[in-house]
């Protein structure tokens, strides 16, 4: 049996489209057309994943996230339109897991859903992770690209580790900054860009068109899933 997915969106067309796409890929489809109903369904039907639209008529998307997070850690994927960037980041900081910008492609959505399910299953205990030509051994702090050893500074390594352990998922700037520099990290936002730039130079084939570390404008970074 596939995972149960709850879609909270007031647009009937979007719900209809997702129903076709998700059921075709073997997922169980649940739906709610407003925030209140969505929170209720999340509590009653115990879905495995929630897909939440930010622009709901009654509750704000943010409120739905925080209400669900009060009692559940189920993955939440945010749907937003361009221009709601700050809402999106706030939702992620509140505990949402990932986001997609409308209009999106079905394959992208399905990829996010797969990542969310995998992370829920806690598959990241493995010490060695391989993504295409990038090879990381978390137990030995070792990084290789196409077999060649790469020397990383401690901060670069820490950044890569955060991305790797969230592979496929977006990691917000704030999360990275506070994880590495603690609470004072917020003031050092510009250095994050520099470290990412340096990290790319070391692991990417073409830093101008990165394959591994993808930028999510205004939100954060994502380690690509190259299967």
């Amino acid at each position: 049996m596939g995972a149960k997915i709850l879609v909270i969106d007031d647009e009937v067309e979007i719900r209809r489209l997702l129903k076709v796409g998700l059921t075709a890929h073997g997922y169980d489809f649940l739906e709610a057309s407003n925030g209140r109903d969505g929170v209720y369904q999340a509590a009653v039907s115990r879905p495995d994943i929630v897909i939440l639209d930010m622009g709901l008529p009654d509750l704000e998307g943010l409120a739905v996230v925080s209400q669900i997070r009060e009692w559940s850690q189920i993955p939440i994927i945010i749907l937003s339109v361009r221009g709601q960037d700050s809402d999106k980041v706030n939702a992620l900081d509140l505990g949402a897991d990932d986001y997609l910008t409308k209009p999106f492609s079905m394959s992208e959505l399905l990829a996010r859903v797969r990542v969310a399910i995998r992370h829920q299953g806690n598959l990241k205990d493995e010490p060695v992770i391989q993504i295409a030509d990038l090879w990381i051994d978390l137990s030995r702090r070792q990084v290789k690209v196409t077999g060649a050893d790469i020397h990383l500074t401690p901060t670069e390594y820490d950044l890569l580790k955060i991305l790797v352990s969230n592979a496929g998922k977006v990691v917000t700037h704030r999360h990275m900054l506070t994880t590495i520099w603690g609470n004072s990290g917020q003031e050092n936002a510009q250095y994050l860009r520099i470290y990412i730039s340096q990290l790319r130079k070391k692991i990417e084939k073409d830093p101008n068109q990165p394959k591994y570390i993808l930028t999510e404008p205004g939100v954060g970074y994502r380690l690509a899933e190259l299967e």
Partner: protein, 904 residues
């Protein structure tokens, strides 16, 4: 111009004005006790029975039982009880009436003078305000209270009436109803004790209520009423457009000076003008070379106020030759009668200076001259408490100095008398006299001359030390002394006056010029207000505030000359300002309305509109006529400046509207094309699949689906551009700047647009190390997307597109270089205009918005964007973004980069 048409339009204008105003009905009687109040109340009862809303504003029944009875049942707005010198006095509750808003309000005794503390000094001003607010007023009034009849009444009855109502106001009455009873009846009523006039003593009243007096007053009242009826008849004819031979408008000109006697001239002139149904013009003859004392200034003010109250048109004449000046004006205004006062000057002055009256009588041709007999004025109390004191000349030390000089001459004469001789000593004595007269004017110089003559006589002219003069020839010397003192002093006086006048004129012109200059370039209301206030404050040496109505309609101070102005304190100031604004009339200090306010309030208005109120508080608690003059001019200037700003704002609004109109049209054309094309491809493909899905094989199906996807992506791009444009246009585009790595932005842009770029070869050139920039990531990405899209559109398939970044001192330059046809020189600037598309580009599509959005975004970031053709073909589109000197740099440090690395 057609005279008749102007006449008709005037009548229409007059009527439309009256429609907005309440109607004034006056019950006119010859004297107290004629039964005006009773008649008025009867009329009120009739109106009530007709269903109209009638209330009593104020009525004093004087205890008459008949009046009390008829008053019974009519709603009375309870009057305000005010205490004045220990007595309780009832005054009409003006605000109460305004709030209650009846259709008709009854107000007794129009000529009443309100007690101190009331809003207006006179009751007729209360009535005026009621009328202005659209309430009809019934009121009572005795003929003796007509301003212009004041002298006549005084001559008939021997009583000077202090309560007067200006003719100007009475002329606005819509109806005058005469309440007339015979003299015998009135006197009988008086003797039966039915008439009480508390203000006048029993004795005066007895003298007043005599058949001769009463009948004379009745005649005045009858004539007054008859004249009003005649005027109404004429108005009626004008309104109906009844043809009549157009009478030549007669004009009567009254010549006045600051003399208190001018009051009689004015009243007489009003009567003559009334009888002739003529327009009254008042000429104020400014004395050319004489010093105006404080008393003169006060009586001048009284005279000018009276002229205004009598409804006269004012002209000021400032000419050395008074008589020819008056005659010139009279001809200019086509005057039929000149009215002059007979001078009270002694005969010798007339011989010396010539008589103006004589000159005018000699010079007038085709005009009548009426000379009002002069008689000593009865003492009239000044109408205002307002005091004007003249500037005082400092005569202390120059007088002392001249006296010292006199003593010095005496000393020198004593010491060197033998050597100098009598004649030369006499000459020396002339020095202090000349000095004194030059510095001090006539009177002090004559004093100095007298002292000099005295000392010269006593100390030098034989017999020395005695007053007597042996040689009569010395008397000539004395006479010469006096003549010199007098003429020089007089001349100096004139010069000084001239100078003062010139200085005043110059300062006035300068004040106006400075303000005009200061205001001409101002484009913001706040700045304008503060400039006006500070300028007026400096010019008139006073505290100044400017009230302007805010958006909620409330009047508020928006600029003040001092932080804690007395004018901002207390509700009485605000009240005066509000009243002034509402009624478009002056109020406050020195006026008849709310005279207890600390400030003088004058409306800032042009002919069409009132913009606000200027509050001015003079340092010495009074204004000279000159200052009021300047204030008027300055406030007029301020009004013009505000009007100009409003006009500019209006124009701007219209232009913006027109622009957006044009924009909308262009948008419409462009959008309908750009949206419909992808929609058509999507719908076409979708209907194919839905309707005949079975007919297509896998490859064909995939091709159809791909075209749907391309169409959708294109629509997405158009919509985002439109949204960006809307945001830019509406000013909602706010930059959310953050530290960004341009390499990162380029990477994301390429990834997001890989589909669009799939048919081209994109290369990126970046320096090894580059500074971060503080920009809005999403917007710069949008710029890059649009520029790349532009390059794709305008260059052949499989050609190379180069994205190059260069770092210059304080900016980053990004260039998008394609291998297309390039851009014609003429188009290099224009391609960034809205809806501009290259004409030669064949079937290349696009809204023509993309590049103009780029420009909007880049300029918002403080950068520059421009296009160039490459010599070898292809176009280069460049943009720059500013870089901070101290912004961090990427790739510079291969080692652990920076201070903040704490490793792990």
């Amino acid at each position: 111009m057609n005279r008749e048409s102007t006449n008709v339009s005037d009548a229409v204008l007059a009527q439309s004005k009256k429609q907005r105003r309440g109607k004034l009905t006056i019950y006119l009687g010859a004297a107290a006790g004629a039964g005006k109040t009773y008649t008025m109340l009867q009329a009120a009862r009739e109106r009530i029975s007709e269903g109209l809303d009638v209330t009593v504003g104020l009525i004093d029944t004087h205890g008459s039982p008949a009046t009390d009875a008829i008053l019974d049942g009519i709603e009375v707005i309870s009057p305000r009880r005010l205490e004045y010198r220990g007595n309780i006095i009832l005054e009409m509750d003006l605000d109460g009436v305004l709030q209650r808003r009846p259709q008709i309000v009854l107000v007794d005794e129009l000529a009443h003078t309100n007690i101190q503390g009331a809003r207006h000094q006179y009751r007729y001003l209360d009535v005026e305000e009621l009328l202005e607010s659209g309430i009809d007023v019934y009121t009572t009034f005795n003929i003796q209270n007509v301003e212009s009849l004041n002298d006549t009444v005084a001559q008939i009855t021997g009583i000077i009436v202090n309560e007067k109502v200006p003719d100007r106001f009475l002329d606005t009455a819509d109806q005058i109803k005469l309440v007339d009873i015979s003299a015998e009846e009135l006197i009988r009523r008086f003797h039966n004790g039915k008439i009480s006039v508390p203000e006048l003593s029993e004795q005066v009243l007895r003298y007043f209520f005599r058949p001769g007096n009463i009948n004379a007053l009745r005649e005045l009242a009858l004539r007054y009423a008859a004249r009003t009826v005649g005027k109404q008849m004429e108005e009626y004819r004008n309104q109906r457009g009844i043809d009549q031979p157009w009478p030549v408008q007669e004009r009567v000109m009254a010549c006045i000076s600051s003399s208190p006697f001018a009051v009689h001239v004015l009243r007489q002139a009003r009567q003559i003008a009334n009888d002739l149904n003529a327009e009254l013009i008042t000429v104020y003859v400014e004395p050319p070379f004489s010093f105006q004392s404080g008393k003169d200034l006060i009586s001048l003010r009284v005279n000018l106020q009276l002229a205004e109250d009598l409804g006269a048109k004012m002209v000021t004449l400032s000419s050395q030759d008074v008589s020819s000046g008056i005659l010139g004006l009279a001809r200019q205004y086509n005057v039929s009668q000149i009215i002059l006062g007979k001078p009270l000057r002694p005969r010798w002055r007339e011989i010396l200076h010539g008589s103006v009256v004589d000159d005018i009588i000699r010079g007038c041709t085709g005009m009548g001259v009426f000379v009002v007999p002069g008689y000593p004025t009865p003492k009239e109390p000044p109408t205002n408490d307002h005091k004007i004191t003249p500037p005082r000349k400092n005569i202390g030390w120059p007088l002392m100095l001249s006296l010292v000089l006199v003593s010095l001459v005496t000393l020198i004469g004593n010491l060197y008398g033998n050597y100098l001789g009598l004649t030369n000593i006499g000459m020396l004595y002339l020095l202090p006299v000349v000095f004194a007269s030059a510095r001090l004017g006539v009177t002090p110089s004559i004093i100095v001359a007298l002292i000099s003559v005295l000392l010269f006589d006593i100390f030098f002219v034989p017999p020395v030390l005695r007053l007597a003069v042996y040689d009569a020839r010395h008397l000539i010397t004395f006479a010469v002394f006096m003549v010199v003192a007098f003429t020089t002093g007089n001349m100096a006086d004139r010069l000084r006056l001239r100078m003062r006048e010139a200085i005043y004129r110059e300062s006035r012109t300068k004040a106006l010029y400075d303000l005009a200059k200061g205001l001409s370039a101002v484009t913001e209301l706040d700045l304008l207000a503060s400039k006006v206030v500070s300028h007026i404050s400096e010019t008139t040496d006073s505290q100044v505030v400017l009230y302007l109505p805010q958006e909620d309609g409330q009047l508020r101070i928006i600029a003040a000359s001092t932080a804690f102005s007395d004018l901002a304190a207390g509700p009485s100031e605000l009240n005066a300002a509000k009243w002034s604004f509402r009624n478009s009339h002056r109020s406050g200090l020195g006026t008849d309305t709310l005279p207890n306010a600390k400030g003088f309030y004058l409306p800032v208005k042009t002919e069409e509109k009132i913009f606000g109120v200027l509050g001015v508080k003079p340092v010495k608690n009074f204004f000279t006529a000159e200052q009021i003059n300047i204030l008027d001019a300055l406030s007029g200037l301020a009004a013009l400046a505000i009007a100009r700003l409003e006009l500019a704002a209006e124009t701007h609004k219209i232009i913006t509207l027109k622009d957006s109109e044009r924009l909308r049209a262009a948008l419409f054309n462009s959008i309908s094309h750009d949206m419909k094309t992808p929609l058509a491809s999507i719908l076409g493909a979708v209907t194919s699949l839905v309707d005949d899905g079975d007919l297509y094989d896998t490859n064909q199906t995939t091709a159809l689906l791909m075209s749907i996807r391309r169409g959708a992506l294109r629509m997405n791009r158009v919509v985002s551009n439109l949204l960006d444009m809307a945001r830019l246009e509406s000013g909602y585009m706010r930059l959310h700047t953050d530290w960004c790595d341009i390499q990162d932005i380029i990477g994301v842009t390429l990834r997001e647009n890989r589909e669009m770029l799939s048919d081209h070869l994109v290369k990126v050139e970046l320096p090894e190390s580059i500074r971060l920039i503080k920009v809005d990531y999403a917007l710069v990405e949008q710029v890059l997307t649009n520029l790349l899209h532009n390059a794709v559109k305008n260059s052949p398939v499989h050609s190379e597109i180069l994205v190059r970044v260069l770092e210059k001192q304080d900016q980053l330059m990004v260039s998008i270089i394609d291998q297309g046809k390039g851009i014609a020189k003429a188009d290099e600037e224009q391609i960034f205009e809205k809806f501009y598309r290259l004409q030669s580009a064949g079937n290349v599509s696009g809204t023509g918005l993309g590049l103009s959005i780029c420009r909007g975004i880049i300029e918002a970031h403080g950068g520059r964007i421009w296009a160039k053709s490459r010599p070898g073909g292809g176009a280069v589109l460049n943009f720059t973004l500013p870089v901070d000197e101290d912004s961090p740099r990427s790739g510079e440090n291969e080692q652990e980069g920076g201070i903040i690395d704490n490793g792990s």
